[in-house]
Symmetry: D2
Subunit: 338 residues, 4 copies
């Protein structure tokens, strides 16, 4: 990192910083301008001491040079991580699987009905929430373990890998037992105990970006999972919060090429939550594919007006079928495949 001293720092002040660097086992590189002195402190784990130097009265500010995450970085692993799921499905390779299903699991029959629609048009992974993070304590909170059992049953029946969210440490083994991917929601992106619990089990993890999480923080949260030994992590962009309220969130497609350069982990995109308006989901889904998504997550519901959660953004079956046809054509033009 680069330490910029306070303007017109004295020899003595400079020495205090230099001594600290040496004491920590690094070699200081000093560069002097007329009024400003900057000191380079480069090397393994130097960033760890950022706060130490920021706290010194002699220091004006610190510029970071090295990345604070290691296992998630391209420096640690150059090639793309490909996550292998049951029934031969992969995320991170040439194929771009579509993950679809209802926001919440409501009943076995509706789940099966929806899953059949998903599969018939080419969707390969089944999504559905059993534990629902709802901003109001008075909203429907999900079916819990019963919902997970339905997921397992329907997934096996239709030969589709399944994904569902765990909201707490206790729910991780449950989701891990019944489903093929454990999802961590946007609100829990910095719930570190939950991240560690996901790192200690074996199923792949989908880590959603929080609505105010920087790319750097998001990768550090992935690092929490990786550091526990579970390397099957995929990132999921689902919209950040900005000043614009015409859409539910602002799906940040800009993050995709940036993240894919920094990390080897696959990136999933969720246009349904991102824009939050049913009729605009297809346009965004196509943009997601074009920008380089490794998988696309879409909410559908056979009768959205009866949905217990997020009905306003769930595609109708006919919209979903049309979109899948368009995505297939588009994927080919991009050298990929749905």
């Amino acid at each position: 990192m680069i330490i910029t001293l306070k303007r017109k720092a004295t020899k003595q002040e400079e020495k205090k910083v230099v001594d600290k660097i040496k004491k920590l086992g690094y070699i200081p590189h000093i560069s002097k301008g007329v009024d400003i002195t900057i000191i380079g402190m480069v090397g393994e784990f130097a960033e760890k001491y950022k706060e130490t130097f920021e706290s010194m009265e002699e220091v004006d500010h610190i510029s970071e040079i090295e990345k604070p995450y290691k296992l998630a970085s391209r420096e640690f692993k150059t090639e793309n991580t490909v996550i292998k799921l049951p029934y031969g499905i992969e995320i991170g390779g040439t194929k771009v699987p579509v993950i679809a299903g209802p926001c919440a699991i409501e009943s076995k029959s509706v789940l099966l009905e929806t899953a059949k629609i998903v599969k018939a048009a080419g969707g390969t992974i089944l999504r559905g929430g059993a534990f629902k993070p709802r901003s109001s304590p008075y909203s429907f909170q999900g079916l819990g373990e019963r919902g997970l059992k339905y997921m397992k049953e329907v997934g096996e029946k239709l030969q589709m890998p399944t994904i569902s969210e765990a909201m707490s440490v206790e729910e991780v083994p449950l989701v891990s037992k019944y489903c093929d991917i454990v999802q961590i929601g946007a609100r829990n992106v910095q719930n570190y105990d939950l991240l560690k619990a996901c790192g200690k089990q074996k199923k792949p993890v989908l880590l959603k970006r929080g609505m105010a999480t920087t790319i750097k923080e998001w990768l550090l949260s992935a690092e929490y999972i990786l550091a526990q030994g579970n390397y099957n992590v995929m990132l999921c962009e689902r919209g950040i919060r900005t000043f614009e309220t015409a859409t539910r969130f602002t799906l940040d497609l800009n993050a995709i090429p940036v993240v894919k350069k920094l990390t080897h982990l696959p990136v999933v995109l969720d246009p349904s939550h991102g824009i939050g308006i049913r009729e605009h989901v297809p346009s965004m889904a196509k943009a997601c594919l074009a920008v380089g998504a490794d998988a696309i997550a879409i909410e559908i519901h056979p009768r959205p007006e009866e949905a217990l959660s997020d009905g306003a953004q769930s595609l109708l079956p006919a919209q979903y079928n049309k979109l899948m046809e368009e995505l297939k054509v588009l994927a080919k033009a991009l050298g990929r495949e749905i």
Copy 2:
């Protein structure tokens, strides 16, 4: 709530919405313009059905009228909630206690040294983290239960109530056992299982606002705790995330009068995390008092450059002492007392 139908909705489309409202047991109030029809659906819990109507093809959008939180609202309880703590300290009354201490508990001796400084200048509540939410898995993560024991010991010795953060459901009984206030951090503001766990124990809870949490969501998170039977909840504004990077966060003082009008719960302000720059904390602390804070939380450290966390924003003892004197004078001018 107000349901606005799609432009030029037909009689039949209107009827579909009206029938739905009647079926749910409400009376529709219809108002027609040239192209636009709006339907009022007012009454107890009407907002619960917001998503149902949003999902209907016939509906353009919904405007909320009633508040989705009940127990947290001024409608439920008109007078301010005053939270009683040991040693006669109260939050929510005329006095504005200063909550001060280090970001993280590092050792018993440093904690005691800091607490003495806090108390000598007039601070009455001791803060310090034993479980630290750190964005990097490689940063110092706190002393855990050992730190909590130090808090209890030092608090009792100096006759100061204590506050510390719980990051997970398992940590709640620990913090609740050793400390007088359980803190929920910004990253966990929508960790609903954690909120419920706080609601089930008896100690007062300080609920920080998340960096992208709207005022409405924040009050709904408080509602999660209240709904479990713990009514001793205080809100804490600690900075939201905006485009401006010259400060660590943007402490949102605007939220204070708005929140105090909506809820009877006391509001604490944390200028240290909010602005994140040591030398600017005093100016902000004074603004916090002037805008109507019920308590002010400040980080101090006897030797910030040795702090294991957040040293850059911790006040030096001399700065803290000076600030306390200024706050006392200011409080009097505002008809309050430190």
Copy 3:
């Protein structure tokens, strides 16, 4: 619009609002709940009186129902506006023209060199700034009228329509004289005198969205131009400002389907300014095409390290050529054409 009265408003308070509505020539539609009364005031130009009612002590808040812009709306004109430019180029039809060129016009020879590269690979409109809005008064401010003359000369030589920015009322006739499209930059999106000046001349106008402009405000700014009689307006999304600093701005693709539903005006996308990082521009450009752009604006420079402005986001000629090939294939898959 919908007027929600203060909770527990008295008969008298209600009457005061109702009388005001009647006095303005509208018919009030009253809907009463237990504690809350809402009053609909629907009709031509009702929104004009929003502030009047907001100012009344009896009123809690107003919900808007009708759109405040008229000429820009789909209600005013259902079919897409197609803007006709010289040499048979159109914006808003099936073809998606690529607008490319340097950020700033630096010399005639570099402009010609760049334009030839643009055209050879299929770009059809030439962009380049003669008046440059620079945040620092000490940065290069553009060649002025001399630059515009070069644009005209090069555009005519290569048979390409041209576009350049006007930053002030005085510059509008100059840009209008030498170029085929007058560009209004993000910083001037609410410079109303400038908008009116654009509305009074005949050349098509490209109106960039400001970095904190809502979709509604953006369309109202377009309305300022339309209201002067110039209907050839195109909107250009170029990135909004959010908390994320890993990219220069956050190109808001979500806005595109929303805007295209609200307005008949064509929408141009500028991935170069939006993401601001050369190597990531191609991914974003493909997403722009997929989401429904009517034209794509790209910065290129034969030798970016010599560019006097925005070199870091300008594509190298080889990158541009490759991107154009990819866009052509993608356009076909989307039923469009570059």
Copy 4:
């Protein structure tokens, strides 16, 4: 500035950058880590070449060290600038003048009536808009020159300096002729021709921060005025745009201590526009005083429900009178005076 080379840059790549630095007349300071090389380029005007180096393929990124503004900085002028106005009023000294009046000038009689209320309670500067920036072309646009004449007349009658906004280059001499301070609104903070025009006339200028303007950009905009020779510039914070919609904007008090450290220019705060809700303006006004405002701007109207603009945030006379009494007591406690 600090130039960080691409990871694992070769000797040759390093040389290319070093040669460029030397060619520009600076001395490179090289600091090498295992994989990363950083090069310091410190000295007068080095930042001017930021884009040149950012454009080089060999460079990963640039960290700025020196400030890009000069005349606005504390390095250029250490002591606070005090702006002298007619009738002995000053901005930037110990006294904190209150600038009050209606949002828009509506008639001479209402202006005079309002001004008398302002003055009676201790307000010393009269504000009022003759040219109104309205987001809709169909809203009231102000009385123009006629309004300015009223301002002059009323100001002289009551012996109060006056302030009014200029929205375009043509309006600058008009406002400058009739009023004592020329105001530049938030929407024009980067309207560079307008800034230059303000710099060329002699009256003091109040420069509002834009709703998405960083502190650095704001000071650069001030620099545009200063660079033309007019050193009587004051900055005005009036609220930034964030995700929170419960308040009209988010008044950024955090910016005040930061800005006051960076610049010698006085800082004015506008709580009325910032929070935009009448009943919450007094709380925010007190916070503005406490955080260190050099002047406070407040909107008042004798009958807000008849106001032609911004009635919802204008104080009623009784609210204003009460606030002024509170501010006087508070100012004394802060060692200042209203």
